[in-house]
Symmetry: D2
Subunit: 145 residues, 4 copies
Amino acid sequence: MRLRVEPPRRVDAYAFTHRLRVRFADTDAMGIVHHAAYLPYLEEARVEYLRAIGHPYLEVRAEGFDFAVLEATLSYLAPLRFDDVVDVHLLVAESTRATFQIAYLLTVDGRPSATAVTVHGCITPDGRPTRLPPWLRSAVGDGPR
Amino acid sequence: MRLRVEPPRRVDAYAFTHRLRVRFADTDAMGIVHHAAYLPYLEEARVEYLRAIGHPYLEVRAEGFDFAVLEATLSYLAPLRFDDVVDVHLLVAESTRATFQIAYLLTVDGRPSATAVTVHGCITPDGRPTRLPPWLRSAVGDGPR
Amino acid sequence: MRLRVEPPRRVDAYAFTHRLRVRFADTDAMGIVHHAAYLPYLEEARVEYLRAIGHPYLEVRAEGFDFAVLEATLSYLAPLRFDDVVDVHLLVAESTRATFQIAYLLTVDGRPSATAVTVHGCITPDGRPTRLPPWLRSAVGDGPR
Amino acid sequence: MRLRVEPPRRVDAYAFTHRLRVRFADTDAMGIVHHAAYLPYLEEARVEYLRAIGHPYLEVRAEGFDFAVLEATLSYLAPLRFDDVVDVHLLVAESTRATFQIAYLLTVDGRPSATAVTVHGCITPDGRPTRLPPWLRSAVGDGPR
């Protein structure tokens, strides 16, 4: 396991926030959001983060990089429900030559509902590990602490 | 709309049956299977049908054909629930030079729970319409009536 | 089949538009949005439409109504791709005492990518058909033609 | 984080195996299975495990227990692709009074493609933590080592 990061539970520790709304299709027969629906929320937030820092994912791919998911961990603190407005806070928390980790805090009305970490490997289109682009290395730890 | 086929509600009108089990992840907060979860059931049944008639989809693609979904229609007759064992009955119902239609009946313990039709276009890897392979033309209407 | 409505292909025939962005998770190995991912787009647009006309779905349910999906039909005109910004235009097209139909047009940069119709039954919490609430009957055909 | 378990990479360390096949709907535009699709695979394997040891999940719920997902972690070792036959090996690895952890190894043709751990809390229908049923406590570590 490469996972080392412990996601902070304070909103102001995060550099970026993406807001989304829970779809009915994301719920399950327990009346709450199914635990598998959170990973696409994290992905959607990553995509918006890359756009916000000037590197939309389609451009990243056009430049010959892909960010494979190597690991993911999720901690479910309080259920999400249909129509909830969820703030996905994220922070590029750590990097090596060819990998980086993103920490997430999900909140509803400011109350934590989940934390997560994803570990990504920077790869070429044919799947070989490659060095992170410089702009990504400099994003690590960016933002208010 | 190309859709013309009315799926029979009698099980014995179908040439092929694929059995699957409803996942908890397929349910929604109404306690039943979400209406979007049915399309992957139909797709899974098509894939097994192609394998059963000796043309696994990976081989079809390797031979330079792809079957794009052009239209789909679903009629929800009775809810599906978690852990239900679902029989997806299917029949290649109609074809033109470059398209074909598949009719479906979903049953649980022999009772109809849904019908559906999908319309597919035969295309080349670069997305241009092409003639159906001969084995597919001869599959039309195949099976007991 | 109850489906009777033919969705117009002109944007200005629709009363309401909801804009969303395609997630990477919605794509498939053909490089385009999987055909099953469209139904949640329609649902998300319906939910926003109900909110826009002053009847959020959670309130509708609290008032003792549920809108079961009875039928759905989709026509895929041009592929959607990752990161596309999709406008889902919708119109309450028709109603009976206990059912209503919604027509949809999906566009990207003004170009049609799909049309759809969903048929809904108005039911009580225990699943019995019931009359449409009056505000919904009066929404039929609402909007510019 | 409650996660402590390191899933073994040897198939014979696991008590139970569930075989499934990758759906086309599970793939994404990188041509491989999307990372969010693995969690439903784990869930499907858990459901089959409970059935195999004589405690189908519907009966567990009827007896007044629910198994909420508290944490999940996944490690993606090698991509899964459309039509792959996946063996999901699992083991109830650890328990406390009110929680238990399951370790997973996913293999294709005997080669590891992913490991995972899920942490579950035993709860009552109204969501309060409760003691594990005795049969579950005795399942911990069950199976060949």
